[in-house]
């Protein structure tokens, strides 16, 4: 195919779509539109290695100007897209420019859910490069840190702040925050991980308010207690960046509604990938929106293929996979553990050298998901087994066999920054 493909959004989904278009043989014009002035960058290190200062900017860049030029990708950075005219095949940017397209890929991602608590200063979210820089500046000052939200981002920020020497407390209204993903029992082991690294938790409590200024904040909790903080970090989820599409004519319902080929419903020249896409997952027979790095990469490849090869459409039917590096844990989660009716732990998740896997059985006696800790080889196996709809007993046998096959792996060093 020739013509012009506009890729709107220059984070992982957009960048990988542009690159995959070239790999798939598309030889027309590719324009990558990014709202921020920075060169395209990657987000996972922003709560870990970049936040701690272990990695410099160049290590988190996804696409340099030289790499873009080598692949014939035009970069149009620093001006967000403001309006999409599907009927006219035209994109408008905030600086007034209009771009015409033959195909357009929406890859505008998601934003941090804003903090409901807005004192004069000292409250941070972590989603963009500038967010991470501002928080890193704040963490260079002494003083306790309160993290509101015990999900992946909150836990990673807590581990990083602790590694930098701060007293840290994580607050979340759920009794076991990660329990939403892995179930309450395994969730409580994730909670213990904080305690083993001298991070306090106040789970099961909400935040009433945050007052003060940076360096001298008071976080009031729903049980009437107060936490003092120099810095507060709010990690309470993300919302898809689809507001700019409100009058586009696209079907937008908590993300751009797409078919199984990642094409926008009723707009075959528009695709969506990554956090902003709500597509029909043929394996699950329902529309899903997934905020995982790996999904953005895989969906980018699918969308690029389907644009370059419209006669050979491929559905996007992934098994979810997400990782989170917290303290001395490399946690990797595959499939849908939340569907499990029972689970079994192989190896160990606790102690000085944690290495283990939790396998979840669904109500059809299959392996529906797994959580592995410091055990990538088990993760690889579990990912294949979930993809292949393996029976639960077979899965247990396969992972147990790995225990006896491999030597004990040394634990990852106990720093938050290198996970």
């Amino acid at each position: 195919m020739t013509g012009t493909v506009l890729v709107v959004g220059a984070s992982i989904g957009g960048v990988r779509t542009a690159q995959a278009l070239r790999s798939e043989g598309f030889d027309g014009r590719i324009v990558l539109v990014g709202a921020e002035p920075h060169a395209p960058y990657d987000k996972p290190p922003l709560s870990k290695q970049f936040l701690s200062g272990a990695w410099e900017l160049e290590k988190v860049l996804l696409l340099t100007a030289e790499q873009a030029a080598a692949d014939g990708i035009e970069l149009r950075l620093g001006s967000p897209a403001t309006r999409l005219d599907v009927a006219g095949s035209r994109l408008l940017l905030a600086d007034g420019e209009a771009l015409d397209y033959d195909k357009l890929v929406v890859a505008t991602g998601a934003s941090a859910r804003p903090s409901p608590w807005r004192p004069e200063s000292g409250v941070h979210v972590v989603r963009t490069l500038d967010d991470s820089r501002h928080l890193a500046d704040a963490l260079r000052q002494d003083g306790p840190v309160v993290v509101v939200g015990g999900g992946f981002i909150g836990a990673e920020v807590a581990a990083t702040a602790r590694g930098l020497g701060h007293d840290v407390t994580v607050v979340d209204p759920m009794p076991t925050p990660i329990g939403r993903v892995v179930g309450p029992e395994i969730g409580s082991i994730f909670a213990e991980l904080h305690h083993r690294h001298d991070v306090a938790t106040r789970f099961g409590l909400g935040v009433e308010g945050v007052e003060g200024v940076a360096g001298n904040l008071r976080v009031r909790l729903t049980d009437g207690s107060t936490l003092n903080a120099a810095t507060v970090v709010v990690g309470i989820g993300a919302v898809p960046n689809d507001g700019w599409l409100a009058d586009s004519g696209l079907a937008v319902e908590n993300g751009v509604l797409c078919d199984e080929y990642s094409r926008a419903v009723d707009a075959p020249d528009v695709f969506a990938v990554g956090d902003v896409a709500r597509w029909f997952h043929p394996g699950y027979r329902e529309h899903v929106r997934v905020e995982h790095w790996t999904n953005a990469v895989e969906q980018a490849v699918i969308a690029a293929h389907n644009i370059a090869h419209p006669d050979d459409l491929r559905p996007h039917s992934p098994v979810e996979y997400v990782w989170s590096d917290q303290y001395d844990w490399k946690a990797q989660i595959v499939g849908r553990p939340v569907l499990g009716v029972r689970h079994e732990i192989i190896g160990t998740l606790e102690g000085e050298r944690p290495r283990g896997a939790v396998l979840y059985q669904d109500d059809a006696d299959r392996l529906c998901g797994a959580v592995t800790v410091n055990w990538p080889r088990a993760l690889v196996q579990c990912r294949r087994l979930v993809t292949g709809h393996a029976g639960y007993d077979e899965a247990l046998d396969r992972i147990r066999a790995l225990v006896s096959a491999g030597p004990a792996m040394a634990a990852v060093p106990a720093t938050s920054a290198d996970g």
């Binding site: 990469v297 490849v301 996979y321 990797q332 990538p376 690889v380």
Partner: protein, 65 residues
């Protein structure tokens, strides 16, 4: 002929490469990538390029020998 390279020190065991191209990438007991072969054909290159780009820490590259 394109040649596969891996930065074994950078590898963190995220294992996306193994899922995307199990015929060329594997992972060892310590969670580090293993190259099952280093030379690939031009025909395979697009698929393996995409697998290499699924590495979250850019540990995988393809070079022209």
């Amino acid at each position: 002929m394109p040649v596969l390279k891996a930065d074994f020190g950078a590898c963190q065991g995220y294992a996306n490469c193994v899922d995307a191209a199990p015929d060329v990438y594997d992972i060892d007991d310590d969670g580090v990538v293993v190259l099952l072969r280093t030379e690939i054909s031009e025909e395979e290159r697009p698929r393996i390029e995409e697998a290499a780009r699924s590495c979250p820490v850019n540990a995988l590259t393809i070079e022209d020998a």
